[in-house]
Symmetry: C2
Amino acid sequence: MGTESGRNTTGAGPRTGAASVRARPADVLVLGGGLIGLVTAWRAAQRGLRTEVVDPAPGGGAARVAAGMLAAVTELHHGEEALLRLNLRSAARYPAFVEELAEAGGRDVGHRTSGTLAVALDADDRAQLRELHALQLRHGLESEWLTGRECRRLEPMLAPSVRGGLRVDGDHQVDPRRLAAALVAACGRAGVAFVRSSAARLSVVRDRAVGAVLDDGTERRADRTVLATGSYSGALAGVPDALRPPVRPVKGQVVRLRVPPAHGPFLSRTVRAVVRGGAVYLVPRADGELVVGASSEELGWDTTVTAGGVYELLRDAHELVPGVTELPLAETGAGLRPATPDNAPLLGPSGLPGLHLATGHHRNGVLLTPVTGDAMGELLATGELPAYARPFSADRFGAGGSDAGGSAGGAPGDDPRRTTRQEAL
Amino acid sequence: MGTESGRNTTGAGPRTGAASVRARPADVLVLGGGLIGLVTAWRAAQRGLRTEVVDPAPGGGAARVAAGMLAAVTELHHGEEALLRLNLRSAARYPAFVEELAEAGGRDVGHRTSGTLAVALDADDRAQLRELHALQLRHGLESEWLTGRECRRLEPMLAPSVRGGLRVDGDHQVDPRRLAAALVAACGRAGVAFVRSSAARLSVVRDRAVGAVLDDGTERRADRTVLATGSYSGALAGVPDALRPPVRPVKGQVVRLRVPPAHGPFLSRTVRAVVRGGAVYLVPRADGELVVGASSEELGWDTTVTAGGVYELLRDAHELVPGVTELPLAETGAGLRPATPDNAPLLGPSGLPGLHLATGHHRNGVLLTPVTGDAMGELLATGELPAYARPFSADRFGAGGSDAGGSAGGAPGDDPRRTTRQEAL
C-alpha cells in the first residue's frame, strides 16, 4: 500500500511534516478520488481536518471521459426543480471556484465561458426544444430562441437542416481532466494523504462506520468515512443493505476529435441537439480538442468502447455539423455516470453513524463539484449540512434507499443488456 | 546509426560472425523494411548475398494496417489480366511460403484458408457482382453464385438485405503483422543486417547506383540497391527524374474490432461488398480480431485517422453485418498503398544500373509477397528477372515513368484533398 502527500500528515496531525504509521485514525477517510472525492477531501483539509483519500488512481474515473459541460440551463428537465436550484448555485460558484483552484492547484482547468447552443434538426426536435424554452422561461432562466438562420450565423459549421435553437450563454464548460489534476495537486498541497488502493469493505464497529478495509487487506481508520466511489457506491461490502445508496452505473461513450490549428475556427461554443431520440453534444476546447458525446447505456459496470457506440456518435455529430468528418479522431472512451432514481446526488449522512455520502451525481458531477465541496466541507467541519444541500440527503428515498434504486444494488458484472439513449436534452 | 543482425555479417562476408565497419560494400542494400523489402532481403540472403535493410522500424509500414486478404479472385478487375496471372501465381505459392517462413521465422503468420464471400446489398451491387462473376468464369476461376438465403446460411450474421453473393473459397487471408514479424526474424537468422535509419538520397557514381546516404549523413554502399520504400518510392532524392518510379500514396483507413471469446462464432470467412460505391470488407482472424477496411483516399502522405473515415467504415460494416455494433472497438489506423498507373507492381531493373525496384504493389502487397521474393531473389542472384515477372518491369511506362504517374512525383506533404472510395471490388 502506498501513501503519499504534499505534506506527510497521515495520522500525525496536520502540517507537522512527520511521517507516520497510522498512530491515530484520520479525521476523514474519503473512499474514491474522482472529482467529488477530491473536492470533498480538499475542503476538509482546508478546514484543518486530517484527511485521506483511498483510490488506486486519484483523478481518474468518470472525469477521464466526461465532456465537462456546465449545463444547468440546457440540462433542465421537468420535475427536477430542486436539482435545478443546486445546479444553478454550483454554476454561480464556478468562476470563484476555478480561480481559487487554479491558484491552489497551480494549473489552469480549462474553464471556458463561451456558452451553449442547443439546436433542433426537425419539427419534432423543435417542438421539444420549444417546450424546454418555455420551462426555462418559467424558471426565470436566460435562454434566447433563434431561427435556423440565426443559429448558423452564430456557428457557420452547423448543418443547413438546423431549424432553430436555444442560445444559452450561461452554460459554460471546464476540462474535467485538468480539473481533476488541479484537485489532486490542491489536495496534496493542503495535506491530504493519498492511499493508492481500493476499499474492499466498510469497517463497522458497534453500528458505527470506523473506516475501511482495503484491497490489500490493511485497514484505514477514521472518525468519519465519506463514500464517494461514484457508480460503485452501491456496491461496497459492509454497508448495511437497507442503507446502501441507490446508485447505478449509466455508461457513456465519448469520442475526442481534434481541430488542427491550421483549420481555423470550427465551433466557438458547445453545440448540442437531440438526434433520433439520442442526445449528442460537441464541446470545443480552447486547445483544439472537440469532445463528442455521449451514449447512455444501462449495461452494469461495462466500459467497453463499441463499434456501435462510436458509430452512432459520429453519425449524429455528422448530421449536426457535417464538417466533423474531416477532423482527426484522437481518442475513444467510455465512463460510468453514478445515477440515482431522481437523477440528483446523495449528499450527507447515510443513516449509519460515521458514514457520509457524496455520490450519485449522474450527469452533473462536473457542474456540481464546487457546491459539493462547499456542502461536504461544511458538514465534515461542523456536523451540519447546509440548508441548500439538505434536499439531497439519502433519507429522501425512504428508510434505506436500495428499494427505490431499481437495479442499483446489482453486483459489478451484471449485464442486463438494456441500451437506451438519453431521451431529452 | 544502429545495425543489428542475427549474425553480424555486415560487410564481412556471410556467416563469418565477424563484426565489421563497412570494410566492403554489401552485395545488396534494400531500402525499406516493409513486407516487400523484407522478403527481398530474405531471399537474397538465402542465395548467399551479403544483404542490408535500411529502415527505422523494420516490419512497420502498410503491414501494420493492412487486412491481409489474399484476394486474387475477388479483386479481379477488367483489363488487369497480367496482374491476375501474377496474383494467382503468388496465391498458389502461399501455402508453401508460409510453411517455410513459419519455420525460418519461428512463428505462425496467421494464414487462414476459410475463404471469402463477396455479397451485394441492392440490385446495382448485384448486377456489378454478376459481371465480376462472369469475368471470373471467363478466366477459369473458381467462384460460385449464391442467393441471399444461401449467403446467410453460410454466414448467419449477414444482413437480411443481402441479395446474393460470390463464394470464393480460394481467396484466403494472412495476418500482415505476424507476417512482417516472421520476415524480420527470418531475415535476422539468414544473416541480413538491419540499419535502423532512412535513406535520404540515392548515391550515384558515374551513372550507376552505388548505395544510399542515410538520414544521419552516413553512407551505405552496395553492388546493387533495391528501392522498396512503398508509397515513398517515387520521392527518393538522387534518382534521376526520368527514372523515378510512378508510385503515389493511396491512403486506407482501417478499424479493428474484437469478437469476445464468449461471443462464439461471428464470421467464419472474409465478407466483403460494395456499399454506396465504396468497398468494405470484414476479415475475421482466428484470434478474435475482426479487421474492417478500407477507405481509398488520395491525400498525399497523410495518415490521419479521421472521424469521417471511421464513421463510413462502421456505417458500411453495420449495413453488411448489423451485429458489428455490439463488438468492442480495439484500434483505428491508416496506411498508404503504393499505387501505380496500372495498379500492378514495379519489379526489377530501374533503368539506372545498380538500382532495382520492388515497389508499387498497391492493394496486393501482402498477396504478392511470396512471388516478389521469388522474382527479386532470382534477379539479385542471377541478374535475370524470371519470365513471369517481366511484364512488371519499370520500362512499361515508357522512358521514365514519372510522366505516366500523374501525381506520383509529388513531394511528401502535398495534399490535393481528393477523396474517393474504391469504385469496384
